[in-house]
């Protein structure tokens, strides 16, 4: 059984115009996937379907063998970490520290000692420690992107979906992200990255998928 199974998925926002048709993909838990495609081809929509934010009308998506429509968003969130394309949509806590701690506080995880170390580590990695008591809304675009990444990486999830994670990152932070991706690879964790940066993707993924109106092509 694959971690993710996308079976004959077709999706459209309007009845007349199908965004993509008949997509079938199998993703393993420790696989590293890259997803590319032109603007507006439905990359983020596909991810939203994979997370259960949007519901598929034709075809089905299975997460660990269960239909995604039958799993609550919070349960999906405990298994799959998602970095939004727009970090503003992901940051909702009053302080940076609380944003990092949110999943542990409301997600039902114990052992606060170990958690604090983990949060410290990721805040240091993404150079956000000095903002720990600041509001995420006061950060710059790049800093928000780093916080969104750090808050997802700090969580113990099986699989990660990163929607254009390099947007707004400078060279140094991009290198740090690359380091984190290497660590994830070493830990045997899988991820899927949506990006327009072909060079970045080819270095960090095992399989590159191209999304188009007729479906997905594997490169």
């Amino acid at each position: 059984m694959s971690f993710y199974t996308i079976d004959s998925l077709t999706f459209s926002f309007a009845k007349e115009c199908k965004l993509f048709q008949n997509i079938s993909i199998e993703i393993e838990e420790n696989q590293h996937i890259g997803l590319i495609g032109p603007n507006g081809c439905g990359k983020t929509t596909l991810v939203k379907l994979m997370l259960g934010i949007l519901k598929a009308k034709e075809g089905a998506i299975y997460l660990e063998g269960k239909n995604i429509n039958d799993i609550s968003l919070s349960k999906v969130g405990k298994t799959v970490g998602y970095v939004f394309q727009n970090p503003d949509k992901q940051l909702f806590c009053p302080t940076v520290w609380e944003q990092m701690n949110f999943s542990y506080k409301f997600g039902g995880n114990a052992d606060q000692g170990g958690i604090n170390d983990k949060i410290h580590y990721y805040l240091e990695v993404f150079d956000l420690m000095k903002y720990r008591d600041s509001s995420p809304l006061e950060l710059s675009r790049g800093e928000k992107q780093r916080l969104a990444l750090a808050s997802v990486l700090a969580r113990d999830v099986k699989f990660l979906i990163l929607d254009e994670p390099t947007t707004g990152l400078d060279i140094l932070r991009k290198k740090q992200l690359e380091k984190c991706l290497m660590t994830l690879k070493e830990e045997g964790k899988g991820y899927m990255i949506i990006s327009h940066e072909g060079k970045f993707l080819t270095s960090f993924v095992d399989k590159l998928l191209t999304l188009g109106p007729k479906g997905v092509e594997s490169n």
């Binding site: 968003l73 909702f92 997600g107």
Partner: protein, 238 residues
């Protein structure tokens, strides 16, 4: 469908909603609802679709009508528990009146809401409303769905961060909602600031008056629609 002047829509909605607030008897209110539905059809508003979209609001109105029915005494008793009169004819009439009145107001508001927002602004300016206030109306109309969108995005983010909203105890849930609500409002205010900045960058309020590319002109159909509505309202109220 004939394209009506935005002023026609505004005047018709003003007439209908004022009448809905003034009429007290049930029979004229029901006639007014019928007139509103006919006008909605005339302005090509999908009635069934809007009922589905406002599903939660109808539930609220239904509860409101139920409470009103129970707490209005008078008339013959329809349902009673012992000596307590639970539902009377007057209470039932009052409950139906509330639902009817709210339906009239909502459907008449859809006549304006279904028009392109900028047209309504032009209509308000043509009715001698200062253009600053007319644009404020436009922004307010645009902002309600934006705040809703911000809030639902935050709810999705919260759930994807692992919080199960159905299982969290009420006290924690309330603190969670304050977590979400505050940044949603701040984000909406940020957007408002950017919109006002971009409007000012394009010369908004640089001069006391503002010229418009679109010139509005009332046609015969507009006068006919307004006159027909006024006549029907007269017949209903008298």
């Amino acid at each position: 469908m004939k394209k009506f002047d935005p002023r026609t829509r505004i005047i018709i909605v003003f007439l209908i909603s004022s009448a809905a607030l003034m009429i007290r008897q049930l029979a004229p209110l029901l006639s007014l609802l019928l007139l509103t539905l006919i006008l909605c059809k005339l302005f090509s508003i999908p009635l069934l679709g809007s009922i589905k979209k406002l599903k939660k609001l109808w539930y609220f109105f239904f509860v409101l009508a139920l409470v009103q029915s129970i707490f209005t005494s008078g008339g013959e008793t329809l349902v009673s528990i012992g000596s307590f009169r639970l539902l009377t004819t007057l209470g039932l009439q009052s409950g139906i009146s509330i639902i009817t009145r709210m339906s009239i107001i909502i459907y008449s508001a859809l006549i304006i809401a279904s028009a392109p927002p900028l047209e309504i602004v032009y209509g308000l300016i043509a009715m001698k409303l200062p253009y600053e206030i007319a644009f404020m109306v436009l922004l307010a109309m645009k902002f309600l769905p934006l705040i809703k969108e911000e809030f639902s995005d935050s709810i999705i983010a919260v759930q994807l961060a692992g919080a199960d909203l159905d299982k969290i105890p009420m006290k924690r849930k309330l603190s969670l909602y304050t977590y979400i609500l505050t940044p949603s409002v701040i984000k909406a205010l940020h957007r408002a600031r950017y919109i006002s900045l971009s409007m000012e960058c394009r010369g908004f309020r640089a001069y006391p008056s503002r010229t418009n590319y679109c010139k509005l002109k009332m046609k015969r159909a507009d006068y006919m629609a307004m006159l027909a509505t006024a006549v029907c309202l007269l017949i209903i109220t008298v």
